[in-house]
Protein backbone atom coordinates (compact mmCIF):
# COMPACT_ATOMS: atom_id res chain seq x y z
CA UNK A 1 0.00 0.00 0.00
CA UNK A 2 2.85 2.36 0.80
CA UNK A 3 4.32 1.63 -2.62
CA UNK A 4 1.02 2.31 -4.35
CA UNK A 5 0.70 5.65 -2.57
CA UNK A 6 4.19 6.61 -3.72
CA UNK A 7 3.66 5.41 -7.25
CA UNK A 8 0.44 7.39 -7.69
CA UNK A 9 2.22 10.56 -6.54
CA UNK A 10 5.10 9.77 -8.86
CA UNK A 11 2.82 9.23 -11.87
CA UNK A 12 0.87 12.41 -11.19
CA UNK A 13 4.17 14.29 -10.87
CA UNK A 14 5.38 12.94 -14.18
CA UNK A 15 2.13 13.98 -15.83
CA UNK A 16 2.44 17.47 -14.37
CA UNK A 17 6.00 17.81 -15.63
CA UNK A 18 5.19 16.56 -19.10
CA UNK A 19 2.30 18.99 -19.30
CA UNK A 20 4.10 22.09 -18.08
CA UNK A 21 5.35 24.25 -20.92
CA UNK A 22 7.16 27.55 -21.05
CA UNK A 23 7.00 30.08 -23.84
CA UNK A 24 7.69 33.74 -24.57
CA UNK A 25 5.72 33.72 -27.80
CA UNK A 26 2.05 34.64 -27.56
CA UNK A 27 1.09 32.75 -30.72
CA UNK A 28 2.69 29.59 -29.43
CA UNK A 29 1.03 30.21 -26.07
CA UNK A 30 -2.38 30.33 -27.74
CA UNK A 31 -1.68 27.14 -29.64
CA UNK A 32 -0.57 25.20 -26.58
CA UNK A 33 -3.56 26.37 -24.55
CA UNK A 34 -5.87 25.42 -27.40
CA UNK A 35 -4.42 21.99 -28.15
CA UNK A 36 -2.40 20.54 -25.26
CA UNK A 37 -3.60 22.66 -22.35
CA UNK A 38 -1.59 22.05 -19.17
CA UNK A 39 0.37 24.59 -17.14
CA UNK A 40 2.03 27.35 -19.12
CA UNK A 41 4.86 29.25 -17.52
CA UNK A 42 5.24 32.71 -18.97
CA UNK A 43 6.46 36.19 -18.08
CA UNK A 44 3.87 38.83 -17.25
CA UNK A 45 4.01 42.59 -16.79
CA UNK A 46 1.88 42.61 -13.63
CA UNK A 47 -0.95 44.65 -15.18
CA UNK A 48 -4.51 43.48 -14.55
CA UNK A 49 -5.64 44.80 -17.95
CA UNK A 50 -3.12 42.59 -19.70
CA UNK A 51 -4.16 39.61 -17.57
CA UNK A 52 -7.80 40.19 -18.53
CA UNK A 53 -7.00 40.49 -22.23
CA UNK A 54 -5.15 37.17 -22.11
CA UNK A 55 -8.18 35.60 -20.47
CA UNK A 56 -10.50 37.02 -23.13
CA UNK A 57 -8.30 35.86 -25.95
CA UNK A 58 -7.31 32.42 -24.68
CA UNK A 59 -9.55 31.55 -21.69
CA UNK A 60 -6.39 30.99 -19.68
CA UNK A 61 -6.03 32.62 -16.27
CA UNK A 62 -3.05 33.19 -14.04
CA UNK A 63 -3.26 30.38 -11.52
CA UNK A 64 -0.39 31.49 -9.30
CA UNK A 65 2.69 33.62 -9.06
CA UNK A 66 4.93 30.85 -7.72
CA UNK A 67 7.24 31.29 -4.76
CA UNK A 68 10.91 31.30 -5.62
CA UNK A 69 10.94 33.54 -8.69
CA UNK A 70 13.96 33.00 -10.96
CA UNK A 71 16.65 35.65 -11.22
CA UNK A 72 16.53 38.23 -13.96
CA UNK A 73 12.76 38.29 -14.48
CA UNK A 74 13.02 41.99 -15.44
CA UNK A 75 15.25 41.14 -18.40
CA UNK A 76 12.28 39.35 -19.97
CA UNK A 77 9.22 40.78 -21.63
CA UNK A 78 5.53 40.35 -20.92
CA UNK A 79 4.04 37.56 -22.98
CA UNK A 80 1.31 39.73 -24.46
CA UNK A 81 2.22 43.43 -24.30
CA UNK A 82 5.99 43.16 -24.46
CA UNK A 83 6.52 45.50 -21.52
CA UNK A 84 9.13 44.72 -18.88
CA UNK A 85 8.16 41.51 -17.06
CA UNK A 86 7.46 41.61 -13.36
CA UNK A 87 6.74 37.96 -12.66
CA UNK A 88 7.10 34.47 -14.06
CA UNK A 89 3.62 33.00 -13.59
CA UNK A 90 1.62 29.83 -14.22
CA UNK A 91 -1.25 30.15 -16.67
CA UNK A 92 -3.87 27.46 -17.33
CA UNK A 93 -7.47 26.89 -18.22
CA UNK A 94 -9.05 26.15 -14.91
CA UNK A 95 -12.08 24.56 -13.31
Amino acid sequence: LTEIQKNLFHLAGQFQQENTHQTEDYQEFKEIIETKRGFLKAYWCGQTTCEEKIKEETQATIRVIPFGQPEGVATHKCLRCGAKAQWLVYFAKAY
Partner: protein, 395 residues
Protein backbone atom coordinates in the same frame (compact mmCIF):
# COMPACT_ATOMS: atom_id res chain seq x y z
CA UNK B 1 -31.49 -4.63 2.06
CA UNK B 2 -33.06 -1.93 -0.08
CA UNK B 3 -29.60 -0.52 -0.72
CA UNK B 4 -28.40 -3.83 -2.08
CA UNK B 5 -31.49 -4.33 -4.19
CA UNK B 6 -31.13 -0.83 -5.54
CA UNK B 7 -27.55 -1.58 -6.44
CA UNK B 8 -28.49 -4.69 -8.37
CA UNK B 9 -31.23 -2.99 -10.28
CA UNK B 10 -28.86 -0.23 -11.25
CA UNK B 11 -26.40 -2.73 -12.66
CA UNK B 12 -29.12 -4.36 -14.76
CA UNK B 13 -30.61 -1.09 -15.81
CA UNK B 14 -27.24 0.22 -16.91
CA UNK B 15 -26.22 -3.08 -18.48
CA UNK B 16 -26.03 -1.44 -21.85
CA UNK B 17 -23.71 1.31 -20.61
CA UNK B 18 -21.67 -1.08 -18.57
CA UNK B 19 -18.54 0.50 -19.96
CA UNK B 20 -18.03 4.02 -18.74
CA UNK B 21 -17.22 6.49 -21.52
CA UNK B 22 -13.43 6.29 -21.99
CA UNK B 23 -11.54 9.16 -20.43
CA UNK B 24 -9.72 10.05 -23.63
CA UNK B 25 -12.97 10.22 -25.60
CA UNK B 26 -14.95 12.62 -23.42
CA UNK B 27 -13.40 13.65 -20.13
CA UNK B 28 -16.47 15.42 -18.73
CA UNK B 29 -18.76 12.50 -19.41
CA UNK B 30 -16.22 10.04 -18.05
CA UNK B 31 -16.00 12.11 -14.85
CA UNK B 32 -19.73 12.36 -14.23
CA UNK B 33 -20.53 8.77 -15.24
CA UNK B 34 -17.76 7.41 -13.07
CA UNK B 35 -18.87 9.35 -10.02
CA UNK B 36 -22.38 7.96 -10.35
CA UNK B 37 -21.42 4.40 -11.27
CA UNK B 38 -18.91 4.16 -8.43
CA UNK B 39 -21.58 5.57 -6.10
CA UNK B 40 -19.49 8.47 -4.86
CA UNK B 41 -22.38 10.85 -5.42
CA UNK B 42 -25.70 11.25 -7.17
CA UNK B 43 -27.73 14.19 -8.38
CA UNK B 44 -30.27 15.51 -5.91
CA UNK B 45 -33.73 16.52 -7.14
CA UNK B 46 -32.67 20.17 -6.97
CA UNK B 47 -30.65 21.87 -9.64
CA UNK B 48 -26.96 22.06 -8.90
CA UNK B 49 -27.16 20.01 -5.72
CA UNK B 50 -25.73 16.59 -5.08
CA UNK B 51 -25.97 13.78 -2.58
CA UNK B 52 -22.67 12.45 -1.32
CA UNK B 53 -23.21 8.70 -1.02
CA UNK B 54 -21.52 6.55 1.65
CA UNK B 55 -18.61 5.51 -0.57
CA UNK B 56 -17.87 9.14 -1.45
CA UNK B 57 -18.53 10.43 2.05
CA UNK B 58 -16.03 8.03 3.55
CA UNK B 59 -13.31 9.66 1.43
CA UNK B 60 -14.34 13.02 2.85
CA UNK B 61 -14.19 11.52 6.35
CA UNK B 62 -10.65 10.33 5.71
CA UNK B 63 -9.70 13.77 4.41
CA UNK B 64 -11.30 15.36 7.48
CA UNK B 65 -9.51 13.08 9.89
CA UNK B 66 -6.07 13.51 8.32
CA UNK B 67 -6.39 17.28 7.91
CA UNK B 68 -8.00 17.86 11.30
CA UNK B 69 -4.97 16.21 12.96
CA UNK B 70 -2.71 18.72 11.21
CA UNK B 71 -4.95 21.69 12.01
CA UNK B 72 -4.96 20.79 15.70
CA UNK B 73 -1.26 19.97 15.81
CA UNK B 74 -0.58 23.54 14.69
CA UNK B 75 -2.54 24.93 17.64
CA UNK B 76 -5.99 25.55 16.15
CA UNK B 77 -9.27 24.59 17.79
CA UNK B 78 -12.59 23.66 16.23
CA UNK B 79 -15.75 25.69 16.83
CA UNK B 80 -19.08 26.25 15.12
CA UNK B 81 -20.75 29.51 14.02
CA UNK B 82 -24.29 30.20 12.72
CA UNK B 83 -25.41 29.20 9.23
CA UNK B 84 -27.38 32.45 8.84
CA UNK B 85 -25.62 35.77 8.52
CA UNK B 86 -27.52 39.10 8.76
CA UNK B 87 -27.29 41.17 5.59
CA UNK B 88 -25.92 44.16 7.52
CA UNK B 89 -22.89 42.07 8.52
CA UNK B 90 -22.06 41.17 4.95
CA UNK B 91 -22.52 44.79 3.89
CA UNK B 92 -19.83 46.06 6.23
CA UNK B 93 -16.95 44.97 4.05
CA UNK B 94 -18.02 46.28 0.63
CA UNK B 95 -15.42 44.47 -1.45
CA UNK B 96 -16.39 41.24 0.33
CA UNK B 97 -20.10 41.77 -0.33
CA UNK B 98 -19.54 42.68 -3.97
CA UNK B 99 -17.48 39.57 -4.48
CA UNK B 100 -20.10 37.25 -3.07
CA UNK B 101 -23.46 38.93 -3.70
CA UNK B 102 -24.17 37.25 -7.07
CA UNK B 103 -23.98 33.86 -5.36
CA UNK B 104 -25.70 34.45 -2.03
CA UNK B 105 -28.92 32.62 -1.13
CA UNK B 106 -31.21 34.68 1.12
CA UNK B 107 -33.73 33.76 3.79
CA UNK B 108 -36.55 36.30 3.95
CA UNK B 109 -39.17 34.52 5.97
CA UNK B 110 -39.20 32.64 9.29
CA UNK B 111 -42.31 30.54 9.82
CA UNK B 112 -45.17 32.82 8.80
CA UNK B 113 -43.34 36.04 9.47
CA UNK B 114 -41.47 38.20 7.05
CA UNK B 115 -38.02 38.91 8.53
CA UNK B 116 -37.04 42.51 9.27
CA UNK B 117 -33.60 41.84 7.88
CA UNK B 118 -32.66 39.31 5.23
CA UNK B 119 -30.33 36.51 6.31
CA UNK B 120 -27.62 35.17 4.03
CA UNK B 121 -27.09 31.43 4.01
CA UNK B 122 -23.38 31.22 4.83
CA UNK B 123 -21.32 31.76 1.65
CA UNK B 124 -18.21 31.99 3.91
CA UNK B 125 -17.93 33.12 7.52
CA UNK B 126 -15.54 36.08 7.76
CA UNK B 127 -18.39 38.46 8.62
CA UNK B 128 -20.05 36.51 11.42
CA UNK B 129 -16.73 35.42 12.88
CA UNK B 130 -15.38 38.97 12.65
CA UNK B 131 -18.35 40.16 14.67
CA UNK B 132 -17.73 37.52 17.36
CA UNK B 133 -14.00 38.29 17.47
CA UNK B 134 -14.88 41.92 18.26
CA UNK B 135 -16.62 40.68 21.41
CA UNK B 136 -13.93 38.26 22.48
CA UNK B 137 -10.74 40.17 21.85
CA UNK B 138 -9.77 42.93 24.31
CA UNK B 139 -6.06 42.71 24.93
CA UNK B 140 -2.86 41.35 23.41
CA UNK B 141 -3.20 38.58 25.99
CA UNK B 142 -6.23 37.28 24.08
CA UNK B 143 -4.17 36.81 20.92
CA UNK B 144 -3.66 34.91 18.77
CA UNK B 145 -7.13 33.46 18.27
CA UNK B 146 -6.82 30.30 16.17
CA UNK B 147 -10.16 28.82 15.14
CA UNK B 148 -11.33 26.30 12.58
CA UNK B 149 -14.84 25.33 11.56
CA UNK B 150 -16.06 22.27 9.62
CA UNK B 151 -19.25 23.33 7.90
CA UNK B 152 -21.49 23.43 4.86
CA UNK B 153 -21.51 26.40 2.47
CA UNK B 154 -24.11 27.62 -0.01
CA UNK B 155 -23.20 29.51 -3.18
CA UNK B 156 -25.79 29.85 -5.93
CA UNK B 157 -23.73 28.71 -8.91
CA UNK B 158 -24.97 28.80 -12.48
CA UNK B 159 -22.81 26.03 -13.89
CA UNK B 160 -22.29 23.07 -11.62
CA UNK B 161 -20.40 19.79 -11.65
CA UNK B 162 -20.36 17.14 -8.91
CA UNK B 163 -17.73 17.83 -6.21
CA UNK B 164 -16.08 20.61 -8.25
CA UNK B 165 -18.82 23.20 -8.09
CA UNK B 166 -22.16 22.58 -6.41
CA UNK B 167 -24.65 24.91 -4.81
CA UNK B 168 -24.00 23.39 -1.41
CA UNK B 169 -20.66 21.91 -0.41
CA UNK B 170 -18.68 20.92 2.67
CA UNK B 171 -15.43 22.52 3.78
CA UNK B 172 -13.27 23.61 6.64
CA UNK B 173 -12.61 27.31 7.19
CA UNK B 174 -9.88 28.55 9.47
CA UNK B 175 -10.12 32.05 10.97
CA UNK B 176 -7.36 33.60 13.00
CA UNK B 177 -6.53 36.94 14.60
CA UNK B 178 -3.02 38.18 15.43
CA UNK B 179 -1.15 41.05 17.06
CA UNK B 180 1.04 41.95 14.13
CA UNK B 181 1.01 42.03 10.36
CA UNK B 182 4.05 39.73 10.29
CA UNK B 183 2.36 37.10 12.45
CA UNK B 184 -0.70 37.07 10.19
CA UNK B 185 1.48 36.70 7.11
CA UNK B 186 3.41 33.90 8.77
CA UNK B 187 0.16 32.09 9.62
CA UNK B 188 -1.14 32.47 6.05
CA UNK B 189 2.03 30.93 4.63
CA UNK B 190 2.22 28.24 7.29
CA UNK B 191 -1.30 27.06 6.43
CA UNK B 192 -0.57 27.03 2.70
CA UNK B 193 2.44 24.85 3.42
CA UNK B 194 0.24 22.59 5.58
CA UNK B 195 -2.19 22.22 2.67
CA UNK B 196 0.61 21.48 0.22
CA UNK B 197 2.08 18.82 2.45
CA UNK B 198 -1.37 17.32 3.13
CA UNK B 199 -2.45 17.16 -0.52
CA UNK B 200 0.87 15.74 -1.71
CA UNK B 201 1.26 13.21 1.10
CA UNK B 202 -2.30 11.96 1.57
CA UNK B 203 -3.96 12.63 -1.79
CA UNK B 204 -0.80 11.93 -3.84
CA UNK B 205 -1.43 15.05 -5.93
CA UNK B 206 1.56 17.29 -6.70
CA UNK B 207 0.74 21.01 -6.56
CA UNK B 208 2.20 24.40 -7.40
CA UNK B 209 2.08 26.83 -4.49
CA UNK B 210 2.08 30.57 -4.90
CA UNK B 211 0.33 33.91 -4.69
CA UNK B 212 -2.82 34.93 -6.53
CA UNK B 213 -2.92 38.04 -8.70
CA UNK B 214 -4.93 41.11 -7.63
CA UNK B 215 -7.72 39.99 -9.94
CA UNK B 216 -7.90 36.40 -8.69
CA UNK B 217 -7.59 37.01 -4.96
CA UNK B 218 -10.36 36.52 -2.40
CA UNK B 219 -12.91 39.33 -2.08
CA UNK B 220 -11.78 41.29 0.97
CA UNK B 221 -8.28 39.86 1.27
CA UNK B 222 -5.00 41.74 1.18
CA UNK B 223 -3.21 38.71 -0.24
CA UNK B 224 -4.38 35.25 -1.33
CA UNK B 225 -2.13 32.21 -1.64
CA UNK B 226 -3.20 28.99 -3.27
CA UNK B 227 -2.14 25.51 -4.27
CA UNK B 228 -2.98 24.44 -7.82
CA UNK B 229 -3.09 20.92 -9.19
CA UNK B 230 -3.11 19.83 -12.82
CA UNK B 231 -5.97 17.46 -13.64
CA UNK B 232 -5.44 14.75 -16.23
CA UNK B 233 -7.38 16.65 -18.91
CA UNK B 234 -4.82 19.46 -18.69
CA UNK B 235 -7.00 21.85 -16.71
CA UNK B 236 -5.86 23.36 -13.45
CA UNK B 237 -7.79 23.02 -10.21
CA UNK B 238 -7.45 25.37 -7.24
CA UNK B 239 -7.25 22.96 -4.32
CA UNK B 240 -6.84 25.17 -1.30
CA UNK B 241 -6.52 28.84 -0.47
CA UNK B 242 -5.07 30.82 2.41
CA UNK B 243 -5.85 34.52 2.76
CA UNK B 244 -4.06 37.28 4.58
CA UNK B 245 -7.01 39.56 5.39
CA UNK B 246 -4.86 42.36 6.78
CA UNK B 247 -7.04 44.72 8.82
CA UNK B 248 -9.91 44.87 6.30
CA UNK B 249 -12.35 43.04 8.52
CA UNK B 250 -11.01 44.20 11.87
CA UNK B 251 -11.55 47.84 10.83
CA UNK B 252 -15.17 47.33 9.79
CA UNK B 253 -16.04 45.00 12.67
CA UNK B 254 -14.04 47.03 15.12
CA UNK B 255 -11.91 44.18 16.39
CA UNK B 256 -9.46 46.07 18.58
CA UNK B 257 -7.05 45.13 21.30
CA UNK B 258 -4.85 46.93 23.78
CA UNK B 259 -1.27 46.22 22.73
CA UNK B 260 1.77 45.78 24.94
CA UNK B 261 2.17 49.58 25.12
CA UNK B 262 -1.49 50.05 26.13
CA UNK B 263 -2.36 51.41 22.71
CA UNK B 264 -5.58 50.37 20.93
CA UNK B 265 -4.83 48.50 17.71
CA UNK B 266 -6.82 46.63 15.09
CA UNK B 267 -6.04 42.89 14.87
CA UNK B 268 -4.50 41.27 11.78
CA UNK B 269 -6.51 38.35 10.42
CA UNK B 270 -6.28 35.31 8.16
CA UNK B 271 -8.77 32.83 6.74
CA UNK B 272 -8.22 29.61 4.80
CA UNK B 273 -10.08 26.59 3.48
CA UNK B 274 -10.31 23.38 1.50
CA UNK B 275 -13.52 21.69 0.44
CA UNK B 276 -15.16 18.56 -0.97
CA UNK B 277 -13.57 19.68 -4.25
CA UNK B 278 -10.63 17.58 -3.17
CA UNK B 279 -12.72 14.45 -3.80
CA UNK B 280 -13.20 15.60 -7.40
CA UNK B 281 -9.47 16.23 -7.64
CA UNK B 282 -8.76 12.62 -6.63
CA UNK B 283 -11.05 11.32 -9.37
CA UNK B 284 -9.59 13.58 -12.06
CA UNK B 285 -5.94 13.14 -11.13
CA UNK B 286 -5.67 9.40 -10.70
CA UNK B 287 -8.64 7.82 -12.54
CA UNK B 288 -8.33 5.95 -15.84
CA UNK B 289 -10.53 4.18 -18.40
CA UNK B 290 -11.19 1.31 -15.96
CA UNK B 291 -12.37 3.71 -13.30
CA UNK B 292 -11.17 5.25 -10.06
CA UNK B 293 -7.75 4.80 -8.53
CA UNK B 294 -7.63 5.94 -4.93
CA UNK B 295 -4.44 6.60 -3.01
CA UNK B 296 -4.43 4.11 -0.10
CA UNK B 297 -4.24 6.87 2.51
CA UNK B 298 -7.75 8.10 1.73
CA UNK B 299 -9.31 5.08 -0.01
CA UNK B 300 -12.62 4.03 1.60
CA UNK B 301 -11.54 0.40 1.17
CA UNK B 302 -7.81 -0.27 1.02
CA UNK B 303 -7.91 -4.02 0.41
CA UNK B 304 -10.76 -6.02 -1.08
CA UNK B 305 -10.71 -9.77 -0.58
CA UNK B 306 -12.37 -11.78 -3.34
CA UNK B 307 -12.73 -15.51 -2.63
CA UNK B 308 -12.77 -17.56 -5.82
CA UNK B 309 -16.10 -19.34 -5.70
CA UNK B 310 -15.21 -22.79 -7.03
CA UNK B 311 -16.38 -26.17 -5.70
CA UNK B 312 -17.09 -26.17 -2.00
CA UNK B 313 -15.44 -22.76 -1.54
CA UNK B 314 -17.69 -21.86 1.37
CA UNK B 315 -16.12 -24.61 3.49
CA UNK B 316 -12.63 -24.45 2.08
CA UNK B 317 -11.92 -20.89 0.99
CA UNK B 318 -14.25 -18.61 2.92
CA UNK B 319 -12.91 -19.41 6.42
CA UNK B 320 -9.38 -18.65 5.25
CA UNK B 321 -10.55 -15.40 3.65
CA UNK B 322 -12.31 -14.43 6.86
CA UNK B 323 -9.19 -15.11 8.86
CA UNK B 324 -7.07 -12.91 6.61
CA UNK B 325 -9.73 -10.23 6.71
CA UNK B 326 -9.73 -10.03 10.50
CA UNK B 327 -5.93 -10.09 10.65
CA UNK B 328 -5.76 -7.13 8.27
CA UNK B 329 -8.45 -5.33 10.22
CA UNK B 330 -6.38 -5.75 13.36
CA UNK B 331 -3.60 -3.92 11.52
CA UNK B 332 -6.06 -1.01 11.07
CA UNK B 333 -6.32 -1.68 7.35
CA UNK B 334 -9.67 -0.83 5.78
CA UNK B 335 -10.63 -4.19 4.34
CA UNK B 336 -13.77 -5.55 2.71
CA UNK B 337 -14.46 -9.24 2.16
CA UNK B 338 -16.72 -9.56 -0.85
CA UNK B 339 -18.39 -12.92 -0.21
CA UNK B 340 -21.54 -12.13 -2.18
CA UNK B 341 -22.79 -15.21 -3.96
CA UNK B 342 -24.82 -13.48 -6.63
CA UNK B 343 -21.77 -12.12 -8.48
CA UNK B 344 -18.90 -13.97 -10.15
CA UNK B 345 -15.29 -13.30 -9.14
CA UNK B 346 -14.65 -11.78 -12.58
CA UNK B 347 -17.49 -9.33 -12.15
CA UNK B 348 -16.18 -8.42 -8.70
CA UNK B 349 -12.67 -7.81 -10.06
CA UNK B 350 -13.83 -5.20 -12.53
CA UNK B 351 -16.33 -3.72 -10.10
CA UNK B 352 -13.68 -3.05 -7.42
CA UNK B 353 -11.23 -1.89 -10.03
CA UNK B 354 -13.82 0.63 -11.18
CA UNK B 355 -14.32 1.72 -7.58
CA UNK B 356 -10.62 2.34 -7.21
CA UNK B 357 -9.64 -0.07 -4.41
CA UNK B 358 -5.82 0.04 -4.33
CA UNK B 359 -5.21 -3.65 -3.63
CA UNK B 360 -7.15 -6.82 -4.41
CA UNK B 361 -6.48 -10.07 -2.60
CA UNK B 362 -7.68 -13.21 -4.41
CA UNK B 363 -7.90 -16.57 -2.77
CA UNK B 364 -9.12 -19.82 -4.34
CA UNK B 365 -9.14 -23.52 -3.42
CA UNK B 366 -5.67 -24.05 -4.84
CA UNK B 367 -4.28 -21.07 -2.98
CA UNK B 368 -5.64 -22.47 0.26
CA UNK B 369 -3.92 -25.78 -0.46
CA UNK B 370 -0.63 -24.04 -1.22
CA UNK B 371 -0.90 -21.63 1.70
CA UNK B 372 -0.79 -18.59 -0.55
CA UNK B 373 -2.84 -15.70 -1.91
CA UNK B 374 -2.73 -13.57 -5.04
CA UNK B 375 -2.30 -9.79 -4.71
CA UNK B 376 -3.23 -7.46 -7.57
CA UNK B 377 -2.33 -3.76 -7.53
CA UNK B 378 -4.81 -1.30 -9.00
CA UNK B 379 -2.18 1.28 -9.97
CA UNK B 380 -0.07 -0.88 -12.31
CA UNK B 381 -2.07 -4.14 -12.37
CA UNK B 382 0.96 -6.04 -11.08
CA UNK B 383 -0.03 -9.49 -9.90
CA UNK B 384 2.01 -11.41 -7.35
CA UNK B 385 1.56 -14.67 -5.52
CA UNK B 386 2.46 -14.39 -1.88
CA UNK B 387 2.87 -17.09 0.79
CA UNK B 388 0.28 -16.70 3.51
CA UNK B 389 2.99 -15.98 6.08
CA UNK B 390 4.06 -12.88 4.16
CA UNK B 391 0.66 -11.35 3.47
CA UNK B 392 0.73 -8.93 6.39
CA UNK B 393 4.18 -7.67 5.48
CA UNK B 394 3.34 -7.31 1.77
CA UNK B 395 0.15 -5.37 2.33
Amino acid sequence: MTEKKGGKELVKEEGFVKQITPKSEDFSRWYVELIRRAELADYAPLKGMMVIRPYGYSIWENIQRLLDQRIKASGHQNAYFPLFIPESFLKKETEHLQGFSPEVAWVTQGGQEELEERLAVRPTSEAIIGYMFSKWIRSWRDLPVLINQWANIVRWEKVTRPFLRTTEFLWQEGHTAHETREEAEEETRLILEMYREFVETELAIPVIAGRKTEREKFAGAMETYSIEGLMSDGRALQMGTSHNLGQHFSRVFNIRFEDRQQQLQYVWQTSWGVSTRLVGALVMTHGDDSGLKFPPQVAPIQVVIVPISLGNWKEKVLPQAQKISSLLREQKIRVYLDAREEFTPGWKFSEWEMRGVPLRLEIGPRDVQNNQVVLVRRDNREKITVPLSEVMAKV
